[in-house]
Amino acid sequence: MHMSQDIGVWVAALLTLGIFSFLYRDNPVYKFCEHLFVGVSAGYYVVLTYFSSIKPNLLVPLFGHFVEGRNFLLIIPFVLSLFLFSRFFPKGDWLSRWSIATILGVYPALRITGFGQSDLVQQVGGSILPFWVAGDPLTSLNNTLLVLGLLATLVFFFFSKEHEGAVGGIAKVGVYFLMVSFGASYGYTVMARVSLLVGRVMFLLDNWAGLVRF
């Protein structure tokens, strides 16, 4: 057993244990770690954003290669980016709405076409399946269940009709399918959280305590 000699590993291990101390209860060590984390990650974002977006996609083409291609048009995002900071001045914050307005136009448009194609049209296409596939009773059964489950779920999320009689019965089946899917999500979530713990324990046992090599 060789405890690590590397100060960096010790820093990482102590911060890991500091966060785990929350399990006992909320305490000053945890609070210290949490605030340090928020601060460091915010500082990280600024540096990263400058070097990976603002410098190469705005400053260099705009001020270094102004006349190439359509680079001169980058004056528009340059001005809009400056406008964003107008909200630090009491009377100027209406300017920042112009910048926000460009964002508010682009993202909904991307989502309309993205969701429309892959989550609506494509999903409807994928659900149009034959109930009977010759020589393959299992696929036939699965196709039928998949389509019926989907239709029942859609009926559950149909709000224009009271859930009574036949509609109510179908909606109830829809709920059953939903519950199975939530159970699956539950199982997968358990798996995810346990994995993250396994990862941290591996770090502590291997890199820090030197007990095991993974």
Binding site: V121, F131, F159
Partner: protein
């Protein structure tokens, strides 16, 4: 000898098909060919503008059968001819010269036609129903059990002389789930004002705090109980995720509310909040559109507004023409889709998959 070489080239020549690349922005030609069985190591692709001389465009792997020429030098509307020249040149296996091709841009990407039709139809229905709703049209919608349960829970809190805790999720005010939560909060505050029940609303963002406080204040005014409104009903705790959870759990254990309403966008904190609420025996009603968190609410809460039910509940309470019109439009399209899928499946079973194919974009 010369005669023989020419003859061999003629015999080995294979057709090269050049076409304007479909559904594109122009300046692009798609070339396809069937490479001869014994192809050379490389092809040199040459191109000439009609009447001009051939010049090399690219060196291609000998096994290729398709190439898209997108060179900046191409001009829309000009006419081009292509040829593949074998490299090494011996034995000669050059392709025929392609028929002339004219690259041009397209106005519509035909592979997206199904998306255009479905999206367009949905928006037409949407504008129609919103317009109807603006003119005062109101449709009947089904009861949402979780919504009925909220009133019962507040009633029970009143009987027990305990409070109601309202947690509006952990997203900022620009999130649509938080906005829906504010609509539900308006209704809840009117009820707690009417029943004279204590209401607590811990928030995790200053902006949500501002809006929530305004919503609660006007809720109390709406039912003529402005006097019962207190400034500390809505509080801003902290923006840090787990610190917020710890603080809210602390409130639950101290104040022991009879009803917990968890309505908004929740992430990993869902199970922590629902667990503590369950342990103090509160009636819990949850609503969120975050599918991952649904299971934790379903098992620990008395009622859960599932996904769209949550939005529908807020639309119904808001009496807002935009929201009601949108709800009706989504319902109408769902009904159409149910019919289309059922019909498509029947057709597919009978051996006609055309409806499914039309919807397919892969």
């Amino acid at each position: 000898m010369t005669v023989l070489a020419v003859f061999a080239a003629e015999a080995g020549a294979f057709p090269l098909e050049a076409k304007d690349t479909p559904n594109d922005g122009g300046k692009s030609v798609t070339l396809t060919w069937a490479p001869p069985a014994e192809h050379p190591a490389h092809w040199t692709l040459v191109r000439r503008e009609r009447g001009g001389a051939f010049a090399p465009v690219a060196t291609l792997d000998g096994a290729l059968a398709r190439y898209v020429d997108e060179a900046a030098a191409l001009t829309n509307g000009a006419s081009y001819e292509y040829q593949l020249v074998a490299d090494p040149a011996d034995p000669p296996r050059d392709s025929e010269v392609s028929l002339p091709v004219v690259p041009s841009p397209d106005w519509l990407d035909s592979t997206k036609a199904n998306v255009l039709v479905v999206t367009g139809l949905f928006f037409i229905v949407l504008f129609f129903t919103i317009n109807q709703a603006h003119r005062g049209r109101r449709w009947t919608f089904r009861k949402i059990p979780g919504l009925v349960a909220i009133e019962e829970a507040i009633g029970r809190a009143t009987e027990m002389g305990k409070g109601v805790l309202y947690i509006p999720g952990v997203q900022d005010i620009d999130d649509i789930q938080t906005i829906a939560s504010m609509i539900l909060l308006a209704q809840v505050s009117r009820l707690t004002a009417k029943y004279e029940t204590k209401l607590s609303v811990p928030t995790n963002s200053p902006a949500v705090y501002t809006v929530a406080d305004e919503v609660v204040k006007s809720g109390y005014q709406d039912v003529g109980r402005a006097d019962a409104y207190q400034g500390d009903m809505v509080r801003y705790l902290t923006s840090e995720q787990f610190a917020y959870v710890a603080a809210v759990n602390g409130m639950m254990l101290r104040e022991r509310p009879a009803a917990n309403l968890l309505l908004g966008a929740f992430f990993a904190e869902s199970l922590l909040l629902a667990e503590t609420g369950h342990s103090i025996g509160a009636i819990q009603i949850a609503g969120t559109a975050n599918v991952h968190q649904m299971p934790f609410f379903v098992v620990a809460c008395d009622y859960t507004l599932i996904g769209e039910e949550y939005y529908a509940a807020s639309a119904l309470l808001s009496n807002d023409a935009l929201l009601l019109g949108s709800l009706k439009a989504a319902d109408t399209v769902k009904l159409v889709l149910i019919i289309v899928i059922a019909l498509g499946c029947v057709l597919a079973t009978l051996g006609n998959p055309s409806l499914g194919n039309w919807f397919s974009t892969q």
